[in-house]
């Protein structure tokens, strides 16, 4: 029996661990470190219809046990991604979750409708929560109706399952989750980054060229966990837990909060082997904690969640 196996709509994963979007590019660079057939899945960098050159510099800053980024969805655009990026990943035995972003409904629809051209892409993650682009991005993720509408129209143009990636910068994340579930979302991935900033006290100016950026890393894990916990009690679709996961225990904590799978972002920068190390550490730790299988743990959490 594979004790680590979990299922997401459209995907069978050999384990619940995958790199988070934007923290792994399209894999080319990390492929020099390990074989991706080790991973549960890969969440690719956000794709937009046309190339995006990204925000002004600097784009990253360090904060206490966290980092701020304002990359600005830099990516080579759908054509190049379809022609080169997803195909590169096809050499590995691992399902790809394509991440789609846009600044208008039309752009999301245009990208979603073509993603299935890449046969190794098994699901779409709809990034409605990027805090680092002026138009669109997070705006789609802060209003339940807008988020639901976007989900619905994207569902219409693709047969791939759609996972909606939620923004934590909201008063009521449960309302957004319920709205996208009702609109047909097949799963939820959460969370994207918190809007934050850092100031250089010497120059008295913001560190980031974009002034604000998205906060990620272990410091935000408690908020991510709380949101996963709340949403998992309110929706029936599975959740990919994201936010500050750096260790085996962090990953298990996410699952205990209600996630079915776990994505690792910032930790890849700290240690390029972050994902395989967590994967290797799961079974020994499960033995210590008396966890038979990840699926059994998920079932146990689901059963207890209305108590």
């Amino acid at each position: 029996m594979n004790r680590l196996k979990v299922n997401l709509p459209g995907l069978e994963l050999r384990n619940p661990i995958m790199p988070a979007s934007g923290c792994f590019g399209f894999g080319e660079e990390y492929a020099e470190f390990y074989d991706f057939s080790k991973l549960g899945a890969i969440m690719a960098k956000s794709a937009t219809l046309n190339e995006r050159v990204g925000n002004s510099l600097p784009r990253v800053a360090e904060t206490p046990n966290g980092i701020l980024n304002a990359i600005g969805l830099k990516n080579p655009g759908l054509e190049v991604i379809l022609a080169e990026k997803y195909p590169f990943l096809a050499q590995f035995d691992v399902p790809i979750i394509a991440n789609v972003a846009g600044s208008s409904e039309e752009e999301y629809v245009a990208v979603c409708s073509r993603i299935a051209e890449a046969p190794n892409v098994k699901a779409i993650e709809l990034n409605i929560s990027c805090p680092n682009v002026k138009e669109g991005g997070v705006a789609f993720g802060t209003d339940p109706e807008v988020a639901a509408r976007l989900t619905r129209i994207c569902k219409e143009v693709t047969n791939l399952p759609i996972y909606v990636k939620l923004s934590p910068n909201v008063t009521d994340i449960v309302a957004i989750a319920k709205a996208v579930e009702a609109a047909g979302a097949d799963a939820i991935s959460m969370i994207n980054t918190f809007t934050g900033m850092a100031i250089n006290v010497k120059s008295r100016k913001p560190v980031l060229g974009n002034i604000t950026g998205g906060l990620s890393g272990p410091g935000i894990k408690p908020i991510a966990l709380r949101m996963v916990y709340q949403v998992s009690r309110a929706v029936d679709i599975p959740i990919i837990g994201i936010g500050g996961v750096a260790t085996v225990d962090d990953a298990l904590e996410m699952i205990m909060a209600g996630a079915t799978a776990v994505a690792v972002g910032t930790a890849n920068f700290v240690d390029p082997y972050a994902c395989p190390k967590i994967i290797d550490g799961l079974e020994p730790r499960m033995d210590e904690l008396g966890i038979e299988s990840i699926q059994a743990l998920i079932d146990e959490v689901r059963e207890n969640r209305f108590k």
């Binding site: 660079e29 020099e32 360090e62 990359i71 890849n268 920068f269």
Partner: protein, 247 residues
């Protein structure tokens, strides 16, 4: 490109706030070009981002880093003890290339402040390649000068200090007219790089080593684009031909 725990052979202050750290490990054998850098994980677990530090010298089974304390990470590094291990990702980046040089070509190597560090290994390689090298090195003042003797062993060194406390007074610009090189390599603060970029617009072979804040260090996150936003400093650089970059 790999991750390895490199052992600290020595770590000491060699000029005001400037430290020299010698590291040992298998990774050294894959270091074969000046201008590359190592991405070091800090001991303080709050400092999530690795710190990019140039390889200043590649020797038999050790490499040397030269760094200036400017913030929390470099302060952290200054406390590491001999025998400790440093979690190192590297060697990274596209270093200095000079296959176009013929023996006897005159080369000018220009550095300012901590930017002088990677130029030492470059100098060694140029000399081994048979080139004549003039180093123009700028420092804030006498207390900040490091590796002066080492550079003197490699070629002519023109020293400049902002306050004139050693060598010529002024930034490296005051010395440029003393040389007429075939190729120029430079590393240092942006104003220095701008000066080099504009002063040698008649030369093809002008290479500048840039700095930018980095997350992954390997080309995956797009954190470290150059200003033109068409190249990544970590992977496509940090060394660029003068026309490739806007400063």
């Amino acid at each position: 490109m790999q991750v390895e725990l490199l052992e600290i052979v020595s770590n000491k202050e060699i000029a005001h706030n400037i430290y020299e750290m010698v590291l040992k490990g298998e990774m050294v054998s894959s270091m074969n070009r000046s201008g590359q850098f190592l991405h070091l994980r800090m001991n303080d677990p709050n400092l999530l981002l690795r710190r990019p530090i140039s390889i200043a010298s590649i020797d038999e089974d050790t490499c040397t880093l030269l760094y200036r304390i400017v913030g929390k990470g470099t302060k952290d590094m200054s406390r590491y003890q001999v025998g400790d291990f440093v979690d190192t990702l590297g060697p990274l980046g596209n270093g200095f290339h000079f296959d176009f040089l013929s023996e006897e070509d005159q080369v000018c190597v220009i550095g300012g402040g901590i930017g002088v560090a990677p130029l030492y290994e470059l100098g060694k390689e140029l000399v081994a390649n048979g080139n004549h090298v003039t180093f123009i090195l700028g420092f804030a003042n006498q207390d900040d000068i490091y590796y002066y003797e080492q550079f003197q062993e490699l070629g002519k060194v023109i020293l400049c200090t902002d306050d004139g406390s050693a060598g010529l007074q002024g930034h490296v610009g005051v010395a440029l007219d003393q040389v007429d090189p075939t190729a120029v390599f430079a590393c240092g603060p942006t104003p220095l790089l701008r000066l080099v970029q504009s002063s040698y617009s008649h030369l093809e072979h002008v290479y500048l080593s840039l700095e930018e804040r980095m997350a992954c260090g390997i080309g995956a996150c797009y954190g470290c684009d150059t200003k033109k936003k068409d190249k990544r400093t970590c992977k496509d650089g940090p060394v660029f031909q003068r026309k490739e970059v806007v400063l």
